[in-house]
């Protein structure tokens, strides 16, 4: 399963009057989220998952939302590790749901 395919998971957003959009990239594709959202919220709302599991053919979408389960680690496109549930979306971030090629 390529990371670009959506799991079509249905995280639902509540209406917030003053919410402001934040645009950033995930696997090279533009994603729009709301200011104040974490990467976990944003990716689950858009892509439906945050990473591919290493040992089985399965995707993961986080689990605990509180930095305990460690199942939502992503990469920035420059290769840094970032935990989705404890990181806020920032405009022009470029994230990757799989490890970037070495030397990227």
């Amino acid at each position: 399963m390529r990371s670009r395919d959506r799991t079509a998971f249905s995280l639902k957003r509540l209406e917030i009057a003053a919410s402001a959009p934040v645009e950033f990239l995930v696997d090279g594709r533009k994603v729009t989220a709301r200011k104040g959202e974490t990467l976990l919220t944003a990716l689950n709302a858009d892509l439906g998952h945050v990473r591919n599991f290493e040992f089985l053919e399965e995707r993961r979408s986080g689990f605990c939302w509180m930095g305990a389960c460690q199942d939502c680690w992503l990469w920035t496109s420059s290769g840094e590790r970032i935990r989705a549930c404890t990181s806020l979306v920032e405009t022009n971030d470029s994230l990757s749901t799989s490890a970037p090629e070495a030397g990227a």
């Binding site: 290493e54 040992f55 680690w73 990469w75 290769g79 840094e80 590790r81 490890a99 070495a102 030397g103």
Partner: protein, 384 residues
């Protein structure tokens, strides 16, 4: 009164291998392990299965052991994730290169073949390496295994073949008597009798040896180990560097990267050891220097264990200088894992046949000087 042919104190890899090999020779065997087999140094070490870099005194054992690693499945029914990924020892400078070349010549007389690589070879074959190394030496048949699995597998096999493996059973004292040895276990009234005694008590080996007046100085060391999350295949061979320092391997299949550098802290008597945060941080720094792509990999865990170290960094292996039918193998100084299977085989031979085809020259306890007189050894009539 039952008397075992062979009693073993210490259920690490060497002891469990000795139990299996002695049992396969038809001897009645009892092994005592204070905790669980393989729970100490044998289970928490780096997992390198390495011949390269050893002192010549260890090479006959290392060569014999390597053949056993190859056929671990035949020996104990599982391969313990042994994989011949190679061992690459890196040279920092020309002086290191000269040492590597000299080592290559030395080991060739033992039938071990190493390949010397220059700077451009390294760049071409191992582009993930960081620092500007002068070159390296590759031992293609070296590799790695999962240390947590090996000693317990030997113990299980020995038990299946009829060896008595007594875990969570601590020997408080052993003494020599007319018929061999009496072993006094904690909480038990009657001693266990055995004709021959093998001391594979690891970091506590010198303590056991002392019961018989074989006095050597054994210190403890606690190699500070680290492991990362699993990552895509990056590092092929098991990496080391001249002069010691950092060693790095990537677990074949699983993908986590294990590295070690420096020492944690250990309390031999309290049976406690822990890694040190400062040492872990230095190791992280050194790992990144060696393999820059590790910079953004997550460190998941650090650990250490209690390992025995001898003053010259070589184990004590061989017959007791003072006491007939007593055999020692301890003090592996941080590099006993690869040797373990063969050490056990040799101990079985020494104890049951009086000799071994594998040379143990240079490993005898006597290299530290004359043994103390037997008046220091406890006599048989000891009240428990």
């Amino acid at each position: 009164m039952t008397s075992f042919d062979v009693a073993i104190i210490g259920g690490g890899l060497a002891g469990c291998s000795a139990a299996l090999h002695a049992r396969r020779r038809g001897a009645s065997v009892i092994l005592f392990e204070r905790g669980r087999c393989g729970a100490q140094a044998s289970g928490v070490n780096y997992g390198g299965v390495r011949q390269q870099g050893r002192h010549p005194a260890e090479l006959p054992l290392a060569r014999r052991s390597r053949a056993m690693w190859e056929r671990l499945v035949d020996l104990i029914g599982q391969d313990c994730e042994f994989s011949a990924t190679g061992h690459l020892k890196l040279a920092r400078n020309d002086a290191d290169m000269a040492d590597l070349v000299a080592h290559q010549q030395m080991v060739s007389s033992f039938g071990l073949s190493l390949e010397i690589l220059d700077r451009s070879d390294l760049r071409r074959r191992y582009p993930y390496l960081g620092q500007d190394f002068a070159g390296g030496s590759l031992c293609a048949e070296d590799g790695q295994a999962n240390p947590r699995l090996v000693a317990p597998a030997f113990a299980r096999c020995a038990r299946e073949k009829g060896a008595v493996i007594r875990e969570q059973c601590s020997i408080k004292l052993a003494v020599a008597d007319r018929n061999g040895f009496q072993l006094f276990a904690a909480g038990e009234d009657a001693p266990v009798h055995a004709r021959r005694l093998i001391n594979t008590a690891g970091a506590w080996g010198a303590g056991v040896a002392k019961w018989f007046g074989d006095i050597v100085r054994e210190e403890v060391m606690a190699p500070n180990m680290c492991v990362t999350e699993p990552i895509a295949p990056l590092v092929g061979p098991n990496l080391g560097i001249c002069g010691g320092g950092i060693y790095v391997r990537q677990a074949t299949g699983h993908g986590s990267v294990i590295f070690g550098s420096g020492l944690g802290t250990a309390d031999r008597d309290a049976l406690r050891a822990r890694p040190l945060a400062d040492v872990t941080m230095e190791a992280a720094s050194a790992a990144i220097k060696m393999v820059p792509a590790l910079a953004n990999v997550l460190l998941v865990r650090s650990w250490t264990g209690i390992e025995g170290r001898m003053p010259d960094g070589l184990p004590v292996i061989g017959a007791s200088p003072s006491t007939p039918n007593l055999f020692h193998a301890f003090g592996f100084s941080g590099h006993g894992f690869q040797l373990g299977p063969a050490v056990g085989a040799v101990l079985a031979e020494l104890s049951l046949e009086g000799g071994s085809p594998t040379s143990l020259d240079g490993l005898s306890m006597t290299r530290f000087g004359e043994p103390k007189s037997n008046s220091a050894a406890p006599v048989a009539a000891v009240r428990t």
